[in-house]
């Protein structure tokens, strides 16, 4: 690597004998590669001192003091961090003070180095070659490979066999990944805990009385006895006036007294449909809707939770309801469709 030093305007010529801040041995002069020179360290046995690699520069005592001051500040802040950490009890330790201490320590150290870089170090501007292509080595390698195969007569066959072995070995190596879980199991996506007769319970576990379900509000419900975190278990229950219902064909009777139950899991990407809007004055205000807070898919409960706004491609599955002799709400069957975000088989056949 050749070097031809060309000084930046900041680097000054050093007087003979002054070491500047560079660590070269001896040598005065304009930074040219030349031997000789007076003073310097090393040498002394009569051998010529080597030429300077890094050009000399004038000292800057002011900058040195600044660097020292900054380093002192950095140390102060670092000590501060230790003191603050030790001083406060865990519940009271002020996060802001800790952050300022360690951030300040690092920051002042950074500033010190920056001052060093600009004022106390010679910033050279050197030249070098960009690496070029190596056509000779390229052809030599190609030749190497080619000649190494000179004893082989069935080149293509052996190569093919090698590649095939590598492929199959790789497959074999990857196969244990399948133990991560079932390879092609969609049963969990079909599963639902709802059967005819299963009771609805509120978030505290109490069965829901139909008479306590009011209009103009919404309820979260679960399948009694099922895991609450099972996304097929959770429902949103609302009540509309029966005259407002326009349910799809075949769902007559799914909403006794206008009480409707839909899966609370959005059919778009799986968030909980946690918003409900209802008009105080239906003459001018928007009709009732279940809304998902993630991408604002909006479902109309009066028409079987069909999508009226937003990106969801599928209505919320509806759960048919019935009221048992004691007045509690029970499922009258399973959902109208699979629960949750869409996938290949989400619309396939009746759910289990």
């Amino acid at each position: 690597m050749s070097e031809r030093a060309k000084d930046r305007p900041e680097a000054q010529q050093g007087a003979p004998g002054e070491a500047g801040s560079a660590e070269a041995h001896g040598g005065a002069g304009a930074g040219d590669a030349q031997s000789g020179g007076s003073g310097g360290d090393g040498g002394g046995d009569g051998v010529e001192a080597p030429a300077r690699i890094v050009p000399p520069g004038l000292p800057d005592r002011g900058a040195e003091y600044v660097v020292l001051a900054l380093l002192a500040l950095a140390m102060l802040f670092a000590v501060g961090f230790i003191v603050v950490y030790a001083e406060y009890s865990p519940a009271e330790v002020p996060n802001q003070l800790l952050g300022v201490c360690i951030g300040g320590a690092l920051g002042f150290a950074a500033l010190a180095l920056a001052v060093l870089a600009r004022r106390l170090v010679v910033t050279e501007e050197l030249e070098d070659d960009y690496p070029q292509e190596n056509p000779r080595e390229q052809s030599e390698i190609a030749q190497l490979v080619h000649e190494s195969a000179s004893r082989i007569t069935r080149r293509r066959l052996l190569l093919g066999a090698g590649a095939a072995t590598g492929g199959v070995l790789g497959l074999a190596g990857l196969t244990p990944v399948l133990s991560l879980g079932p390879l092609w199991d969609t049963a969990p996506l079909d599963y639902s805990p709802w059967r005819r007769g299963r009771r609805l319970v509120d978030p505290h576990g109490y069965p829901m009385l139909a008479s306590e379900v009011e209009e103009e509000t919404f309820y979260t419900a679960f399948a009694e006895g099922a895991d609450r975190e099972d996304i097929a278990s959770v429902l949103v229950v609302v009540r509309l006036h029966p005259s407002e219902l326009r349910l799809p064909k075949g769902r007559e009777g799914w909403a006794p007294y206008g009480i409707l139950a839909y899966s609370k899991i959005c059919t778009h990407a799986g968030c909980a449909v946690a918003l409900y809007r209802k008009p105080r004055f239906p003459v001018v205000e928007a009709k009732p809707a279940l809304v998902c807070p993630c991408h604002y898919s909006t479902f109309n409960p009066a028409t079987g939770a069909s999508v009226i706004f937003g990106p969801a491609g599928r209505p919320l599955p509806q759960l048919p309801l019935m009221i048992d002799p004691s007045g509690h709400l029970r499922a009258a069957g399973d959902f109208s469709g699979r629960v949750g975000p869409a996938w290949w088989g989400v619309r396939e056949g009746p759910p289990t």
């Binding site: 009011e214 918003l275 209802k278 105080r280 003459v283």
Partner: protein, 279 residues
Amino acid sequence: MSRLARTIATRLRGAAGARARWGALSAAALLLAACEGVALAQPRGGVLTPPSQPAKPTVQLGHELFEANCASCHGGLGQGISHPRPGAGDISGAAPSLHGVGAEAADFYLRTGFMPLSNIHAEPSNRRVPFTNKQVEAITDFVASLGAGPAIPHPKPRAGALNSGFELFTEDCAGCHQSLARGGFVTGARVPPLQGVDATEIAEAVRIGPYLMPRFSTKRISDAQLNSIIRYVLSTNRPDNRGGWSIGNLGPIPEGLVAWLAAIALAVLCLGLGRRLRA
């Protein structure tokens, strides 16, 4: 950058720039017209008050204020108008009946400023409260006299528990109001933030279900539960922000803005460390 400015300046100068100047002028004129149009589309504000008002609020005063400011939509006796018909000026009046809504509803809507509404299709806003407290009391008394209805509630948030309040709020309210009651959006309406809202107002809103908000009766949310919820909402005025500057308690959006500001600040630092093209 100065070269950029010079280029644009050169383009606008001279004979060749005449077309560009006209273009800029007409664009400015269009912009001004658009602004005027938007301004004109804003609903009008202001209320009418009788020339002389008694010292204490009375049902009589309330009736007069109601006649002047509410009757065009709610009907002279608060019976409601369900088929909008054009009234005085360009006000098209329609509103629900106020019989049986009680002092609770009147107090809520008037003290917050959600009512009166100058345009029945506009979203109610709590930005301005046009009535004085005395006037609000008077109208509330009048509306309460229109039929037996719920009184102004007196919640006791100190009797509530912060932890159950947080849990209940997350279950029933956060979907619209956001976990820290910073407000949000539901299709068709803006959901207001709840900072600076007092306990009575919260209780009223929960029990009334104003505008598009669901209505939660005592069967749905008991008084004890409501106390807890209100206690939690009041605590959102001063959340536990021990991590530092909370940047609005809104989550990743302001956080991302700050991250980019920090990255830009570091890039500016690089400007100090490295060279520029035209140093």
